[in-house]
Every structure is written in structure tokens, then in C-alpha cells.
């Protein structure tokens, strides 16, 4: 118990990010089990490709008129970092995920199914720009799709 309290107290805020209330960190928070092997990581052009896709995705969603309002006042620096971690973790790129659970991370955003649809289309565009093979895109999306149930609130 003391150890847990200590661990929570030791969480530091990465540079450029807003402070968040402490929470239990776990890779299980990523909301999907990672792929095995290296094929998917290779299909996404390694850690560098994942970082490019996550950055491109954030650039797209904050400019997407369908969902841009959701990200107003949100910590974009933290979002970029956590998306890179999450994608890298799921694609078996050797990263740990340090964010909250999908449900906690999206609490009170009032997300709807159509918002998830818009984000998926932006992610498809980002993966297409990175020239990830369509079949590999779908394998990755199959991991993300069930998260919709945790993030949609209305």
C-alpha cells in the first residue's frame, strides 16, 4: 500500500504537459492486447512510422470540423505522446503505455459513435499517407474498434 502511494506520488509531469491527477499506470490501460511478432511493426515502418502516423493523426483531428471542438482545451502534447505509446505498445514496438484507461481518458468528453467514425477516417488517412498496406491498416483497426464501447457516452 505504501509502495503504491509512493509510486503514485512519484509520477511526474513530462515537459510541456499539464499535470493530471495520479492514477494507476498499466499497459492494460491501452485497451487492447499487443500483436505478437514483428510483422505489424514492420508494416507500420517501425517506431518512426508510428510516430509519424500519430503526429499526422493529431494534426488531422484537431482540424477536422466534425470533431475539432472535442480537442479544444485538451492537452495536445500529452495526447500526441500517449497515442504514440499506445500505438507502439499494440503494434508490439516495445513501448509501455502510461495513459489512463480508455474509459477514464475519454470521460465527460460526451463522445458519440460518429466522433469515433470521424477519428477512424482520419487515422485511415494518416496510415495511407504513411503508405501502410490496407490489410495491415485493418488488422490494426480491428484492435482499436472495440474501444468504441468504452469511449462513447451518449
Amino acid at each position: 500500500m505504501l509502495l503504491l502511494a509512493l509510486a503514485l506520488a512519484l509520477q511526474t509531469t513530462p515537459p510541456g504537459e499539464d499535470a493530471v491527477d495520479p492514477y494507476l499506470q498499466s499497459n492494460a490501460n491501452a485497451g487492447a492486447t499487443p500483436f505478437t511478432g514483428t510483422a505489424m511493426l514492420a508494416a507500420f515502418h517501425g517506431r518512426a512510422g508510428i510516430d509519424r502516423i500519430a503526429d499526422d493523426l493529431v494534426t488531422r483531428i484537431v482540424a477536422d470540423p466534425r470533431i475539432a471542438d472535442i480537442f479544444k482545451g485538451q492537452d495536445e502534447v500529452r495526447l500526441r505522446r500517449l497515442l504514440k505509446e499506445q500505438f507502439c505498445y499494440i503494434l508490439n514496438g516495445g513501448c509501455a503505455y502510461s495513459g489512463r484507461t480508455m474509459r477514464e481518458g475519454h470521460r465527460n468528453l460526451g463522445l458519440q459513435t460518429a466522433d469515433v467514425g470521424a477519428l477512424i477516417e482520419d487515422l485511415q488517412a494518416a496510415m495511407r499517407t504513411e503508405r501502410v498496406a490496407f490489410h495491415a491498416q485493418n488488422r490494426f483497426l480491428a484492435k482499436l474498434a472495440p474501444m468504441k464501447r468504452a469511449v462513447v457516452e451518449r
Binding site: 458519440q112 477512424i120 477516417e121 490496407f134 483497426l141 472495440p146
Partner: protein, 297 residues
């Protein structure tokens, strides 16, 4: 039997209505247009319901999500060696839960009409009114579950030319089909799969009436589709649809097709297929082209 059919129709329509009314509290919030992923509203079948070209799927028509109302309209031409089938119609999707559909079909016998003693360009027609309820499952988002999207439906067909239908042995000019569909997008394999059971008496989709001199019982017909997503906008696949064989004067065979459904724009899709409808009214080898244009919102 007739009472049973009416009861079943009433039960399905009752469920559809109850769901429609049950959705009312949720409608207190603002309706939201669109939001469905490309192709996941299916395309329009010749009967107006969302599906492949021939098979009805569990998907609900329109671009709406659970937060909105959407719909689709279609114009379809099936050009065969000796016949033409045209279908126009539309469907409305409520909250990605309920679908109400309508189609009007014209079946032109062209020169074969004269050979069949009906007269050149004799045209059969029918109206199809459909209702579909998504019961459980999400074909697209439930990628961690084996459970497909399952829908039940009812289609009421009203054929024209009742005297001709009676003359060829058809028992009724009207009929009601009952459907259970299971549809799943297997995203990890880029596949779209559907299996549908249709309980029907229809002769040639209902154009030649319902029931016949050979059989007037309900038959469990199978509709199956399998497609491969090759891009977010393009689905390539094949379908099979079995049909009852009720009329003594002409053997009725299964229908198969190989299709490409291309949603080239958010609100527009085109389906092109090679279709084999087998023997129709004694005229064999009716293989040809299926072309359908759909608009959706």
C-alpha cells in the same frame, strides 16, 4: 397458416414499432447526420433493403449512427439475355437500429413474352415493403467478439398481373417473407460475411407470385455473401441466393453473382455485378449484368 403468418408479421412489426418508440427518449438529444463508416450501411438489394445486390444483410441502410436518421435510394438494372429487371426504391434507417424499405420492380419479358404467349414486352411488376430490426451485435465495432450483427425482418410483396400468376400455377399474388440475417465485418481479414435465412413462398422473387401447384408451403431459403475489402471504398465479393421451386411449368434455380461495390463518394455508390439467375419461366441460362446506383445520407 395464414393466421400464423399474420401473427408473425404483427410480431416483427410490433418489435420494430416498439424499438422506434423506445428510441424516443434518446431522440430528446439533437439528431446527428452521418457518421457511419464507408460501405457499412451496405448497398441496396433489388428489394430495397440494405445488403449486397441479391442478399439482404443485417446492416441498416443509411449513413446514420445510433444518434441519427439516414437513408438511401437506388436505381438498379439487371440486364439478362431474354429479360430485363428494373428496381427503384429507397430505405430509411432510424438510429442504426430500424430500417424501413420500399422497392418497385419491373420485369420486362421483351421478345420472350411473345414466345411465352404473354405478348411482346409483357411486364410483370411488384412492390416490396420491408421492415428490419437490428436485434444484437455490431458488425463493425465488435471486432473482439465472434457475435455478428443480427437482424430480423419482414418483407411484404404485392405482385401485379394476378391473373397471369394464377394461370401459371401461382397460388397468391401477395406474400410475406420473414428474414433472419447475420452480418460480420472481419476487419483483421478485411472480410465482410453474411448469412441470411429467408422463409418465403416467392416464385422468382415474388414476380411470379407466391406458392404454386408444386408447393404452397413456406421454404427456408439461404442467402450468403462474402466480400473482400480492397480499399475503404471498394468491396469485391460473391453471393448466392436459393429460392423455392413451386411452379410446375418452369424450374426455378438459385441465383449467384460476383460483385464490386464502390462507394466513390460519401453519398454515392455503384454496384456492378455479373449475375446468374438460372432458368426463368422456362427460358434457360439467364446470365447478365447487374448495375445499381445508390445515393445515401
Amino acid at each position: 397458416m395464414r393466421v400464423f403468418v399474420k401473427c408473425l408479421t404483427a410480431a416483427v412489426l410490433g418489435l420494430v414499432l416498439a424499438s422506434l418508440l423506445g428510441a424516443q427518449p434518446a431522440q430528446a438529444r439533437e439528431l446527428r447526420q452521418g457518421g457511419k463508416l464507408l460501405l457499412t450501411g451496405g448497398v441496396s438489394t433489388v428489394e430495397g433493403a440494405a445488403g449486397g445486390g441479391l442478399a439482404t444483410w443485417a446492416l441498416i441502410a443509411g449513413n446514420e449512427t445510433d444518434a441519427g436518421i439516414g437513408g438511401s435510394a437506388h436505381a438498379t438494372l439487371v440486364a439478362l439475355p431474354d429479360f430485363d429487371l428494373k428496381s427503384i426504391g429507397g430505405a430509411i434507417g432510424f438510429h442504426n437500429r430500424i430500417e424501413l424499405s420500399y422497392a418497385h420492380q419491373r420485369f420486362d419479358t421483351r421478345q420472350a413474352g411473345a414466345a411465352l404467349g404473354l405478348g411482346r414486352n409483357f411486364t410483370f411488376g411488384q412492390d416490396v415493403f420491408g421492415a428490419k430490426l437490428r436485434v444484437i451485435g455490431d458488425a463493425v465495432y465488435d471486432q473482439d467478439r465472434i457475435l455478428p450483427q443480427i437482424a430480423i425482418g419482414v418483407q411484404y410483396h404485392r405482385a401485379e398481373k394476378a391473373p397471369v400468376i394464377a394461370a401459371v400455377g401461382g397460388r397468391h399474388a401477395q406474400g410475406t417473407d420473414f428474414l433472419v440475417s447475420a452480418t460480420k465485418v472481419v476487419l483483421a481479414r478485411s472480410l465482410v460475411l453474411d448469412a441470411t435465412l429467408r422463409f418465403t413462398k416467392a416464385n422468382q422473387f415474388g414476380l411470379l407470385g407466391f406458392g404454386g401447384d408444386k408447393s404452397n408451403a413456406y421454404h427456408a431459403a439461404f442467402e450468403g455473401s462474402a466480400g473482400l475489402l480492397v480499399s475503404p471504398r471498394l468491396l469485391l465479393g460473391a453471393e448466392i441466393r436459393t429460392k423455392p421451386d413451386n411452379l410446375g411449368f418452369a424450374r426455378e434455380q438459385k441465383a449467384v453473382d460476383a460483385f464490386a461495390a464502390w462507394q466513390f463518394q460519401r453519398h454515392l455508390a455503384v454496384t456492378a455485378a455479373y449475375v446468374d439467375l438460372g432458368s426463368i419461366a422456362t427460358v434457360k441460362r439467364q446470365r447478365g449484368a447487374f448495375l445499381s446506383l445508390q445515393a445515401s445520407f
